[in-house]
């Protein structure tokens, strides 16, 4: 009898343990197959954009209608946590099958072997890919991604406040100063450590626009004279109080939409966002008027998760996306951005937004916001550089010393 009681207690304990284990098992892996149909997940922060998200979802539905063996579901992950969320999932051998990455995370993931090589999955020779952005998709002869979106940086300006766009740096500074009165500012950019990734994007234009670079491909060049000149320009504008200091991007972009900010350097994705905030705003776009015509670009590759059990099916989706008709549709959804292949904008779209060609013309001179030669280490280098530049903005150290410190710290970091 006693043995019987013990056995029953043991059964009960095992049952409790089993139930807990079942609860802890968590969610299953992606890329599942059901009734002969392979179900894939495509994660992108843009799927959550108020303007572009619903249109991208419809575009995915078009793919689903065209297929009877593969279906793709959208997964919108907010931009600020996108990289961390997806990389953490991928690091544990899970995550979505298809991912639209930004460059720093793309580089980290490909370096860690989390992205499936595409050489054997997609024959890219069939497509007329844009060479400048596409070169960053290949590492040591191995292709890891296809451009989903390339969004070049340009100067947005309020056409009611600025009749003629500045064409030189001096004119740019003068315009910013003359517009700054009361609660209106001539310019806006990110300048707080809380927006580290954004500050990096913004200072990138000043560094490259003054002939600088973060590296020569082999050595870091953070404290080069050109970088110092570019970042001095950034600091001078900060010191001149022509920007709403301490204000975050979401706020000063709303201010731009309300006519309270005259100019902003931003990428093509900003066109749709600005119109979403104020459809009546009279704004225009021109190339950034810095001494050297080089600026940043947001490159967003689409990749296949190495852990996906359905890589062939995921490649089917990318191949569908690369078809000319689907590339045109994608570009129209993305607005002022470019896509993977050479496309022609429709006359209707050009009439509606004449400055679209400004972005297109910048493609050859635009560079992704990564440190060339140290791509996978970009997030770490970014942290060091931004911290030191902010220290200079706050006056705790002069800019030259800040860049020297950043050079030393980042060099130690990359070994």
């Amino acid at each position: 009898m006693r043995l019987h009681r013990i056995r029953r207690s043991m059964v009960a304990a095992v049952s409790v343990t089993g139930m807990a284990a079942a609860l802890l098992a968590g969610c299953g892996s992606d890329g599942g197959s059901e009734g002969g149909v392979t179900k894939l997940t495509f994660a992108a922060s843009t799927l959550g954009d108020p303007g572009r998200g619903p249109l991208l979802t419809k575009w995915l539905e078009e793919f689903n209608k065209s297929q009877n063996k593969v279906q793709v579901s959208p997964a919108a992950v907010p931009y600020p946590t996108f990289g961390q969320t997806i990389l953490t999932q991928m690091g544990s051998g899970k995550g979505p099958d298809l991912i639209r990455f930004d460059m720093p995370e793309f580089e980290s993931a490909s370096d860690a072997g989390l992205i499936a090589p595409l050489n054997d999955l997609i024959d890219v020779s069939k497509y007329d890919l844009l060479k400048q952005p596409d070169q960053f998709m290949v590492h040591d002869g191995q292709r890891h991604g296809i451009i989903f979106e390339a969004s070049n940086y340009a100067m947005f300006y309020n056409a009611d406040l600025i009749k003629k766009a500045p064409t030189t740096y001096d004119e740019f500074v003068e315009t910013a100063k003359s517009l700054t009165k009361g609660d209106t500012y001539g310019l806006a950019f990110r300048q707080t450590e809380a927006e580290e990734a954004g500050v990096w994007q913004d200072i990138f234009n000043y560094v490259y626009g003054f002939g600088g670079a973060w590296s020569d491909g082999k050595q870091l060049t953070i404290n080069s004279p050109e970088n110092l000149k570019g970042l001095q320009a950034y600091k001078d504008l900060y010191d001149a109080k022509v920007i709403p200091r301490g204000t975050d991007a979401a706020t000063f972009r709303r201010m731009f939409a309300e006519g309270k900010v005259g100019m902003e350097l931003n990428n093509g994705g900003y066109v749709t966002a600005t119109r979403g905030q104020n459809a009546d705003l009279n704004f225009n776009v021109a190339p950034i008027p810095f001494p050297v015509r080089k600026q940043g670009t947001i490159l967003a590759p689409i990749v296949i998760n190495e852990a996906s059990p359905a890589k062939e099916e995921a490649a089917t989706f990318i191949k569908w996306a690369l078809e000319p008709a689907n590339q045109v549709k994608l570009q129209e959804i993305l607005g002022a951005s470019s896509v993977a292949t050479v496309t022609q904008r429709s006359p209707e779209k050009l009439k509606e937004t004449p400055f679209l060609t400004v972005f297109d013309d910048l493609t050859e001179s635009s560079l992704p916001q990564i440190v060339l030669g140290f791509e996978a280490k970009t997030p770490d280098i970014r942290k060091v550089v931004v911290k030191n530049v902010i220290a200079a903005l706050q006056g705790t150290v002069d800019l030259k010393t800040a860049l020297d410190n950043a050079q030393q710290e980042a060099s130690q970091l990359v070994g």
Partner: protein
């Protein structure tokens, strides 16, 4: 109840228990403890053991299943880093100020609310509002109030001639930590005041009356009677506040992300940055271990003080 009645009551092993039921067997306590023990094992012991292991390895967030044993390298590196030593100092300042000011303010408010005055019930309800507000909402409201262009704090400081140059309080290495401290304490003090108010209400009135009749002034009455009664509660609050302040994340992260220039970087912010920005789980685990050791020292210290107080009371 008499001793006889007690003897006649059915004991745990007598009476009408159904034969064969596991209830009453020597396994019964284990059966009921199993879920809680399993929970603690799965969610506390295993992660803690994993953290200890990780802290001695070089492990990337992008490849967490592949670790390289590096011994004490992570600890040597973080303690050799000037930024980490500054982080420890900032954590110490943050915790000490939070505990002292939150408990001190809470005590002052509790003493005030313990007095009889019109609208006391309403005042007690109003005081609890900051504690009831979610941390994220508090952080966002604070950011809005501290905005250099339209924030009410800057306008007020400008009006009284104490404006911060440039107005960007949260971007100033000098003012960011005090701003976060004020916000934290604003949220914390209602909790301490409510707990201390209940402790004050438990102080036997006859003791204060006796002290007053013996000619003790207000200060001496407070010191000799009230303080002695509420001291254990204050000790418990100080312990709770210390541990909560050590692990506070969302408020600091939302307001400054540890910046500017590391001026508000506490241990948990550093841990998060190491794990998710730098993707170095080994270093992050080492930072976490430092936090655990500090917490253990605080707990041991508080127990030591409590025991000393008990001995003194005897």
């Amino acid at each position: 109840m008499t001793a006889l009645e007690q003897q006649q009551l059915p004991g745990p092993r007598s009476g009408t228990r159904r034969r064969g039921s596991p209830l009453g067997s020597k396994w019964t306590p284990y059966f009921f403890l199993a879920p809680a023990a399993l929970f603690i094992l799965v969610f506390q012991v295993v992660p803690l053991a994993q953290e200890v292991f990780l802290s001695f390895t070089r492990t990337s967030l992008l490849n967490p299943t592949h670790s390289t044993w590096v011994g004490f390298d992570n600890f040597a590196r973080i303690f050799g880093d000037e930024d980490f030593r500054r982080t420890l100092l900032i954590t110490l300042v943050y915790v000490v100020v939070c505990v002292v000011v939150a408990v001190g303010t809470g005590l002052a408010v509790a003493l005030l609310l313990n007095k009889g005055f019109r609208g006391r019930g309403l005042a007690r309800a109003l005081v609890t509002i900051p504690w009831a507000a979610p941390g994220i909402a508090v952080a966002l409201i604070a950011i809005w109030m501290l905005n250099p262009d339209y924030g009410i704090v800057n306008r007020f400081l400008d009006t009284i001639g104490l404006g911060v140059p440039g107005g960007a309080i949260l971007d100033s290495p000098r003012y960011a930590l005090p701003a976060i401290l004020v916000t934290t304490i604003w949220q914390l003090f209602p909790f301490t005041s409510v707990v201390l108010l209940s402790a004050l209400q438990a102080v036997p009135p006859h003791l204060t009356e006796a002290a007053t009749m013996d000619g003790a002034g207000r200060w001496w009455t407070f010191r000799a009677v009230t303080w002695q009664s509420i001291k254990p509660t204050v000790g418990l609050l100080a312990l709770l506040m210390t541990i909560w302040s050590l692990r506070r994340f969302e408020l600091i992260w939302l307001m400054t992300k540890g910046g500017p220039v590391g001026a508000t970087e506490t241990l948990v912010i550093d841990l998060y940055s190491q794990a998710f920005d730098s993707k170095q789980l080994g270093s992050a685990a080492a930072v976490g271990m430092v936090g655990i050791v500090i917490s253990l020292i605080v707990i041991a210290g508080s127990r030591f003080v409590a025991r000393a107080a008990e001995r003194e009371a005897r």
